[in-house]
């Protein structure tokens, strides 16, 4: 694992009107690592993801990319750095076909004209390497099932060769088989040296693929745990808000983990 994290968040705060969605959040992620981000509904996971992705600019704090501080104001800023995001609300255009969605915002062009042939070819290759099966790459997203949309959304994130991939609850709407496929996909991304931030409600998923688990609670950090040496119950306790006893145990553990 590299010494400098590819992405580091320092003291991030974000407010929506009266809601303090994030307070002083810290998060580090290294290349070739899967960090799970967990927390109750409304804990601020999606908001954190959107600040990294440039959907909601941060109010306070700093974002470091490969050791250097960067400003992310717009989705384009994040994409240019190499951050790809798969949102919980998938953010696909129902009226466009699969190819158009995969390349939306980064169309391949030939002499200024959209090169449909090159795009369709790359789309097929990409879907093949990810073992993704859909009826046709030329049908509108509107006629795909929920699971098919999810894999298209993930494939879409990989089009620009990103260094960090953020997946917001990618398996929430999926069946057993498709969940397994997505988790396989996450492992393949790690093998390729990408950094993956995986938001999930499912502890089994987290245990299966994540290296570390970062817990958010009410918009604040509530510990970072190495997955292998931490039990299910400890993570759940951190998510739900632990007793005094558990707090001390957790703090002991986080210092041990070298936070």
């Amino acid at each position: 694992m590299s010494a400098t994290p590819v992405l580091a968040l320092r003291g991030i705060s974000k407010r929506f009107g009266a809601v303090q969605a994030l307070t002083d959040v810290e998060l580090e992620i290294h290349a070739g690592e899967v960090v799970a981000l967990v927390g109750d509904n409304g804990a601020g996971k999606s908001t954190l993801v959107k600040t990294i992705a440039g959907v909601h600019p941060i109010d306070e704090g700093a974002i470091h990319w490969e050791g250097r501080q960067v400003d992310i104001h717009r989705p384009h800023d994040a994409q240019d750095l190499g951050i790809a995001t798969v949102y919980q609300d998938l953010a696909l255009c129902d009226n466009l076909d699969v190819v158009a969605n995969l390349f939306l915002g980064s169309e391949i062009r030939r002499a200024g004209i959209i090169d449909e042939v090159a795009m369709e070819k790359r789309a097929k290759e990409l879907l093949d390497t990810l073992s993704i099966r859909i009826p046709s790459v030329r049908i509108p997203i509107a006629s795909l099932s929920g699971g098919q949309r999810q894999v298209v959304a993930i494939a879409r994130a990989l089009v620009g060769d990103p260094k960090v991939v953020i997946l917001d609850e990618p398996t929430a709407a999926l069946g057993v088989e498709q969940t397994a496929q997505v988790l396989d996909l996450v492992e393949r991304l790690r093998e390729r040296g990408l950094a993956v931030i995986l938001i999930s409600h499912n502890m089994a998923d987290v245990k299966a693929v994540a290296d570390r688990v970062a817990v958010l609670r009410l918009g604040r950090n509530n510990g970072v745990f190495p997955v292998r040496t931490t039990s299910h119950e400890e993570i759940i306790a951190a998510i739900t808000g632990a007793t005094d006893n558990a707090v001390t145990r957790r703090q002991a553990r986080t210092t041990e983990a070298g936070l």
Partner: protein
């Protein structure tokens, strides 16, 4: 953009692993066409089927009532009359693709014509410059609407409703002293709808070039797709499509030559259609319009400058409205206080929708401006031949528009239920 699913024989791109039985592999030949057609209809992708059927029905009905309906002179007139409102309808297609509406285009057409007339005719400005300024003013007005919609967040229909009123006020004020300004003969505007290429080579030449270009680009595209190992249209299908287009093109050319020759208005309208279709389907800008119309938030997250798209699309609608206004001025012999009022706005919006462009955004074709305009104009032409009063025309056009909107809404519903979300 439906391509025949037929694997390249080269086989180098054969998929690894077993083929998923649910893959939509279209059978070859006409049976394949039929199954694909049925699938599309079930999925709510009707496209231009209803309007083509409608045109045929209109043709048959009026022709049986009055045999001069499909005469060369009548068809020639239709091809000129559709140009002005048709060009405006192209602008409305852009706006509808965005999922918005522009209620101001009638007034903008009036302002464009008035500005040209005041500058060129009343103040003796260079004719070309006055035409360019009038069109540019239309674009600026559209951008102004777009600004309030995109940056301030005022609903587009309210902004353009205010524009509808405000700009027609400006138009009346500009025309104030004279009331009407006649087009000087021999000028650009006069020629827009009154110039005909009377040499029969013009119409046949245009038909030939058009058919050849279609055939060439289809073959080229098919070859590139085949080389890339992608599904491609077989030559037989290309030949069939080219044949249909060739028949239509040459019959039209023949009929136009029987009358006064190839109208300049039709040439310009076709050029606008081709260029707009190219922009919408082949450029990233066009792709971004569809994306914003389909899901603005998704477009924004994909890094698309949604505000820029919205402002420029309204600018395009304004530009084409002013341009169309000059055609209307040409046809009616001059600019006036009332140019662009009455049923112009409704006709233009109806044309886009009747042609198959959805009111709900993100679905449609530039060519629907032509198809829809043909429906509206041929109904008017037919009723005129039968000597029916304009109130009957209004009612029939209203019914046709309602039918088109019903088809649009129903097909949207079917699409939603076909998408198993």
């Amino acid at each position: 953009m439906s391509h025949t699913v037929q694997k390249a024989s080269s086989g180098d791109a054969a998929p690894t692993g077993a083929v998923d039985p649910r893959l939509l592999v279209r059978e070859q030949g006409f049976k394949g066409y039929l199954t694909e057609f049925k699938r599309k209809v079930r999925g709510g992708e009707l496209g231009s089927i209803p309007v083509v059927v409608g045109l045929i029905v209109i043709g048959v009905i009026f022709q049986s009532l009055d045999s001069s309906f499909l005469s060369a002179g009548s068809l020639s007139n239709v091809s000129v009359y559709i140009a002005g409102q048709g060009i405006m309808a192209v602008g409305i297609v852009f706006v509808l693709l965005l999922g918005e509406i522009d209620l101001s285009i009638g007034s903008v057409a009036g302002v464009g014509a008035a500005l040209w007339a005041v500058l060129s005719v009343s103040n003796g400005m260079d004719d070309t410059l006055a035409v360019v300024l009038a069109i540019a003013a239309g674009a600026a007005i559209g951008a102004f609407h777009g600004f309030f919609f995109a940056k301030i967040g005022v609903p587009a229909f309210v902004v353009t409703l205010a524009g509808f009123l405000g700009w027609s006020g400006l138009q009346i004020w500009m025309m104030g002293e004279e009331g009407t300004i006649n087009t000087p003969s021999g000028g650009i505007v006069e020629n827009l709808t009154n110039y005909y290429f009377s040499d029969i080579a013009a119409a046949y030449g245009l038909a030939t070039v058009g058919v050849a270009a279609f055939l060439g680009s289809s073959l080229l595209d098919s070859r590139r797709r085949r080389a890339a190992g992608l599904p491609f249209r077989p030559v037989s299908e290309i030949a069939l499509r080219t044949g249909v287009i060739a028949v239509i093109a040459f019959v039209c050319a023949y009929q136009l030559n029987q009358a006064r020759g190839l109208p300049l208005a039709l040439v310009i309208f076709l050029a606008v259609l081709l260029f707009a279709d190219f922009v919408v389907r082949r450029t990233t800008y066009g792709r971004q319009i569809f994306a914003v119309g389909g899901n603005a938030e998704a477009a924004r997250r994909a890094g698309i400058n949604v505000e820029k798209i919205r402002i420029t699309v309204f600018a395009i609608a304004g530009l084409l409205a002013a341009f169309g206004g000059l055609f209307i001025a040409s046809q009616s012999g001059g600019a006036s206080k009332s140019l662009g009022s009455g049923n112009v706005l409704m006709n233009v919006i109806a044309a886009a929708v009747i042609g198959g462009t959805s009111l709900f955004g993100g679905r449609g074709k530039i060519w629907s401006a032509l198809l829809g305009m043909l429906v509206i104009q041929s109904i008017q032409q037919g009723l005129n031949l039968l000597g029916m009063a304009s109130e009957i025309q209004y009612m029939i056009t209203g019914v046709v528009l309602l039918a088109a909107v019903v088809i649009d809404s129903v097909s949207r519903k079917t699409q939603k239920s076909a998408g198993r979300t």
